[in-house]
């Protein structure tokens, strides 16, 4: 086939407007959030959810999860392109920074005898199990959308997708979990999120090559 023939075919295929990859990923994120919410059929939000919104630790926990979701979404969009664009990656430190602040406040305000209790909480095992489980459907959505991209570094793009999926999963999980202490979040949520991110990085390395 000569190149002119190929161009002719490409032009015919190019007669429809193209959806930018950023928009495709945001749509996938929307779908991911809806899918993660379906899990409420299995695991309900905590019973005191309405009152919880007005308590500082719960509000802080939610703010933290939303910060992680937003910042990892920004980074994911950047990793989907063939030119590596590290200049916005710094936003990823916002959520850990926020969490560190929360931990410090917690350590100052809570007597040291209670630290261990706050750290271990009631639901550590649940947290480690449910956050990855709740991330599966969002991750599938995001990776599928990312296949349409051309990531400069497939492994990095996979990690970013994993982080965002975990953030969505963790946000939904946070609504069901009675443990609100920043100590608990630092100890358990972080482990669950790292597991999902690392797994997705390895999936991405294979799946996202183009």
């Amino acid at each position: 086939m000569n190149t002119e023939n190929l161009i002719h075919a490409l032009v015919i295929d190019g007669s429809r407007p193209v959806v930018p990859i950023g928009r495709t990923l945001l749509r996938a994120l929307g779908l991911a959030i809806i899918l993660a919410e379906l899990s409420f059929f299995i695991r309900q939000p905590r019973v005191d959810i309405v009152q919880a919104f007005s308590t500082t630790p719960f509000a802080f926990k939610l703010l933290l999860m939303l910060a992680l979701t937003a910042t990892s979404a920004v980074v994911l969009v950047d990793t989907a392109r063939p030119i590596s664009a590290p200049h916005r990656r710094w936003v990823l430190i916002l959520a850990p920074l926020l969490l560190s602040g929360g931990v410090i406040v917690e350590l100052i305000t809570v007597p040291s005898q209670a630290w261990t209790a706050h750290l271990i909480g009631h639901n550590a095992a649940h947290c480690l199990m449910f956050i990855p489980l709740l991330s599966v459907a969002p991750l599938a959505c995001l990776l599928l959308a990312l296949r349409g991209g051309a990531p400069a570094h497939p492994m990095l793009a996979g990690a970013a997708a994993g982080l965002l999926a975990a953030a969505v999963g963790a946000t939904i999980y946070a609504l069901t979990c009675p443990d609100d202490s920043p100590l608990f979040i630092a100890a358990w949520y972080s482990v669950a999120i790292v597991i999902v991110t690392a797994t997705s990085a390895f999936i991405g390395r294979r799946l996202l090559r183009w």
Binding site: N2, T3, L6, L10, V11, V18, A150
Partner: protein
């Protein structure tokens, strides 16, 4: 038609790209012809010594530019984006030949050249990859490439709806890109 002045060329490419992403085929045709010339120059210097057919790689790059054009961001330069995609495909092609070669994007960008050669160059990988399509897909691809039909003409000839031709074509191009990538050299 091509201009030797990079900023001028960049503006021209960006303008054509902008219009192409809205689904305008006339600017897209012009853009692809310009990019082919540029890519061919960048590819030739790199794959000749590896014993690869340069035009095969050029076609692979074109296919990737087409399928990945959603990753170009409006308002950003086209040249570096083209170079990044071309580099990925050149590295792929060399790797399939068992060569581990570092190809810096900058060097590809520098050689996105202006040497004007006709588009009559023959290549073979894609032709071979056609065998991986199902019969219907192959007919559609042949109709709009080798036989040069429009989607409408192809539809009439193959007794399909125009929409079905477009869907089949798009799917076929993805399959071709996948096979060209996976198929051992």
């Amino acid at each position: 038609m091509t201009t030797a002045d990079p900023p001028e060329r960049e503006r021209h490419w960006a303008e054509l790209m902008d219009q192409s992403l809205d689904g305008n085929t006339e600017p897209y045709q012009r853009l692809l012809v310009l990019l082919t010339v540029a890519v061919r120059n960048a590819v030739r210097s790199r794959v000749r010594f590896a014993g690869l057919d340069a035009e095969d790689v050029v076609q692979e790059v074109l296919l990737a530019l087409h399928l990945k054009r959603s990753t170009w961001m409006r308002g950003t330069p086209v040249g570096p984006w083209v170079a990044a995609i071309a580099r990925n495909k050149i590295v792929d092609a060399l790797r399939r030949r068992g060569r581990r070669t570092e190809v810096p994007i900058e060097s590809v960008l520098e050689t996105l050249g202006f040497e004007d050669v006709s588009g009559q160059e023959q290549a073979h990988d894609l032709e071979r990859a056609l065998a991986k399509l199902n019969p219907r897909q192959r007919e559609v691809v042949r109709a709009v490439s080798l036989e040069g039909h429009t989607a409408q003409e192809a539809a009439a000839r193959l007794q399909m709806s125009e929409g079905a031709v477009r869907v089949t074509l798009h799917r076929s191009l993805k399959v071709l890109a996948g096979h060209v990538q996976c198929g051992a050299g």
